[in-house]
Subunit: 227 residues, 2 copies
DNA sequence: CATTTATGTGTACTGTTTACACAAAGGTAC
DNA sequence: GTACCTTTGTGTAAACAGTACACATAAATG
């Protein structure tokens, strides 16, 4: 079988973090040309799967390890990169505060977090890729418990609430939000409280992943719907 | 920039049709080796986008033109094809009864429809790809009006109802289904009736795509939820 | 013309979503 | 230490959406 195809395949990661009530994205500065900011990513090696490629590139370029990763979309326009034809398989990754810190022992010195609504000029079609990633996050947060991946293991309800409000960009009723989330039975109260400045201390909760998987098996479906 | 990457990129299409109250899938018989059945698809040409590649391959291999097409998932395992490393971008396609007929003027003589629950042995990981496609169809039919793409332009309500029941593999209440669908205001009554054997003739309806797009713009969201 | 088959229609019940306000726990400023 | 500020925690009534359910209508068939 002879195929003369001159296309290279790469992976790129849209990595979201949640910090200071903002959705942030992890970008790296290119080392060549205009030194534009770009998504972490790179060419797939002959002997690794796509998933392996993203994980490797993320580690090499930023030092972080995502605690959620899913394939997003494959971008295959003919003029994405002016140098040669590159098809890129984009991934969506979520990082929690523990993994948020960029380890300096790698190439990570060129990596930086940006507010999703205040992005620099981006290389290639990376702006489009980010848009698709954000859309996916917005949609998915409503029907899969992926929001927890952006929070600490133990978190006050207000964090969860703010996270949803930030991502969905709308105000939610505190009482109804809490009631709904608790009704699923996938949140576990801890006996710890968190004090931040003034105000009543907040009870900390944990996401009970095991319980969620169990319920899911039995046909339970996480779903939030607020006007 | 030098990259030594020895990977080829292909596209494959999971093409669904609806016939005799069955979900069917379009497969082609391979011309080499064990002549197994496989999804229509092939290698991407250097100067075409991924979408263009699927459309071209579908036409060449089966003579059909999908009236709905969306990217599904990219399969990048290292051992998909024993001959060489191939990464495949899979697409989901829907065909309506008008396009259902395989035109014999092409390579289509090797193409055939199969009941989705009665598949032959399949090449590569195509069985997995079909599973992903079916899952997507099942999920998406609930929140996007893609079911209509599988029906004639004018259809009786019972067709729509059977389509949903077949795809979701569960019985739906006729009255509630009709009430819900009509409540959206995206179905247009025609003044035509369809008689099939005995029984009261059924009024024919049309999907009003323009109206749907209009409503969608104003924040309307197609959504079906039945126990 | 009696029987069979498929279409077409309404209502009461149940569960879910929404809107909404005040008490409790702690901090801060005087 | 007390008045005030800030944040957390909680219930209920009204509106809406989903569910369960049965009989009349239009045609074909024998």
């Amino acid at each position: 079988m002879k195929i003369t195809q001159n296309i290279k395949i790469a992976v790129d990661a849209v990595v979201f973090g949640y910090h200071n009530n903002q959705i942030q994205i992890l970008l790296i500065q290119q080392k060549f040309g205009k030194k534009q900011w770009a998504l972490p990513g790179g060419f797939v090696l002959d002997k690794e799967t796509l998933d392996e490629a993203v994980i490797r590139e993320l580690k090499e370029e930023t030092g972080v390890k995502a605690n959620y990763l899913e394939q997003l979309y494959t971008f295959g326009a003919t003029q994405r990169d002016e140098r040669l034809r590159v098809i890129s398989v984009a991934y969506l990754a979520l990082i929690n505060p523990n993994n948020y810190i960029l380890k300096a022992d790698t190439d990570a010195k060129d990596a930086q977090w940006f507010d999703i609504y205040d992005l620099p000029e981006l290389a290639f079609d990376h702006k489009d890729i980010i848009a698709v990633g954000l859309e996916r996050l917005k949609a998915k947060i409503n029907y899969q418990p992926i929001g927890f991946e952006l929070l600490n293991t133990k978190f006050p309800f207000s964090d969860l609430e703010n996270l949803y409000q930030t991502i969905l960009n709308k105000k939610l009723d505190r009482r109804n939000f809490r009631k709904k989330l608790l009704s699923f039975g996938i949140l576990q109260e801890t006996d710890q409280y968190q004090k931040v400045g003034s105000g009543r201390p907040a009870k900390l909760f944990k996401f009970n992943k095991k319980k969620y998987k169990e319920l899911e098996q039995n046909g339970f479906h996480f779903e939030i719907k607020f006007a």
